[in-house]
Symmetry: C2
Subunit: 227 residues, 2 copies
Amino acid sequence: MNRLLRPGVRERETLLSSRLLSQLGVESAAAMMEIAAIGTLPARQILFREGEAADTLFCVLSGYIRVYKLDPDGREADVELYGPGDLIGVSLVFDGGRYTATAQAAEPSTLARFDLKRVREIAGRRPDLALVLMNALSEQLASAYSNLANDRLHTAPQRVARYLLDNCAHDGKAASFRLPYQKSLLAGKLGLAPEALSRAFSMLRGHGVNVRGRFVQVEDPEALRRI
Amino acid sequence: MNRLLRPGVRERETLLSSRLLSQLGVESAAAMMEIAAIGTLPARQILFREGEAADTLFCVLSGYIRVYKLDPDGREADVELYGPGDLIGVSLVFDGGRYTATAQAAEPSTLARFDLKRVREIAGRRPDLALVLMNALSEQLASAYSNLANDRLHTAPQRVARYLLDNCAHDGKAASFRLPYQKSLLAGKLGLAPEALSRAFSMLRGHGVNVRGRFVQVEDPEALRRI
DNA sequence: AGTCGGGTTTGATCTCGATCAAAGAAGAAA
DNA sequence: TTTCTTCTTTGATCGAGATCAAACCCGACT
C-alpha cells in the first residue's frame, strides 16, 4: 500500500456513498469513518496472501481487486473479482484467523482499510453494521454458488453470454456497453484461459455480438439467452 | 416433510448438541428451541426449490442434503452438500427473498426447521445468535471458494486425493475410513460424473489407495498429497 | 510517424472428463 | 436364499478447453 492516509475530502465522500457506509445509521457510519484509512495500490500489487494473519477489512473505492488461490506449482484460479463498493474480507470479521486466498490489484486502485479488531468491536455494539456485513457475506455466497454452478453446467460461450446479459440487461432491447476491465481479467473471472474467452467472443459474433476492444454490442439479448 | 413435530426428547438432545445451539448462550438456545420444529424426509424428497420464497432456516440433524442448481435442460450441478450439524439457508436470514438453489434429501434425513422471521427477530435481540450465523456463513463462503478453485485447478484424481486427505487427516500415518455417503453423491460434490469418480479411484489404486465399497484405506498420505 | 511492449487473437495439438452403452456388484425385500 | 433394483465399474467415443507458439493489434512513448 503506497499511501496510507486519513481520508481526505474526496475520499470521505466516496466512502460515505459506498455500499458499506451508505447503509449504516449516521452514528455507525461515523464510527467506521473514524477508523478508516485510505490507500492506493499500483497495478499488480499484492494486498494480502493466502495464509497470512488477517487483520484488515477492505472496501474497494476504485479499481478492481482480483482474489485467487494458488496451486502447488503456481497456477492461479480466480475466485472473485471485487469492484467499487465491494467489501473484501467480510468473512474474516468474525471467522478471524487467516486470509484464505490471495488478493491482487488488477489495475491501479484505491481502497479503504479498517482494522478488523475495531470492526468486530463496533459490530458487537451496533446491529446495523453487523447486518450490512451479513448482507455482503450473503451476496458473496450467492455469487460463489452461481459461479460454481456456472462452471459446472455451462460452456465458455454460454458463460460469456450470461455475463453479457447480466451486465447490460436492458430488458429485451439491443444494448451496448464497455467492459469495465481487461479481457484477460474477465477470462479469469469466468474461469477461462484468455484464448478461450477470445474464441467464445468470436463464436458469439455469429449470434449478434460485436466486440471492438472493450466495446461490446448485443444485438439480440433473446437470442443470446438461448445459446 | 413427512412428520412435523415439536421436538421430542431425543431430538431436543441432538439439537442442543448441534453446532447451532451448542454455541449459543442458554437463553438464546432456549429461544431457538422454542421455535424449532423437527421433520423427517425420505430420500429424494425436495426440501425447497430455487426461486421459491424463503421462509425457513434448516439445521441438519441426520442424513445429507444436497443443494444444487439446474440448467434450462434439467442438468444438475451440486453446489454444496450439508451433513449433520450444518445450517441450510443462513444467507437468507438477512438477505431475505428467495432460495437461490434447490435442496433435496440425498438419503433419509431429519432436520430442524426454524421460521426465518422469528430467527431474524431473535438474532436482532441476541448478538450471540447473529455471531453463530455469521460464522456459519463465513465457513460456507470459504468452502465455496475452495470448491471453485479446486474445480479450476485440479484434475479428478487430485480432487479425490484432497477429499481423502481432508477426511482422514491422521497426520502422516496410514489411515482408513468409511465414506459417509454414496459414491455418486461424492461425485456430485466434487463436480464429477460418477464414472469419472470411479476412474479416479482406480487410478489412485496405484498410489496406495484401496477402496472396497464405502471402505477406503490410504496407505501413504504423503504420496497422495503429491499426486 | 516510428518503435516498443503489452494484451489479444489465431492456429495446432493434446488431455481430461462427459456421455452413451453395457456389464458387474451389492443391498434390500420377499 | 433368491430376486430385483439400484449403484458402480468398465469400455469406447467425442468434444470442450488448456496449452504452446506465433502472429497481430493497439496504445504509450520517444
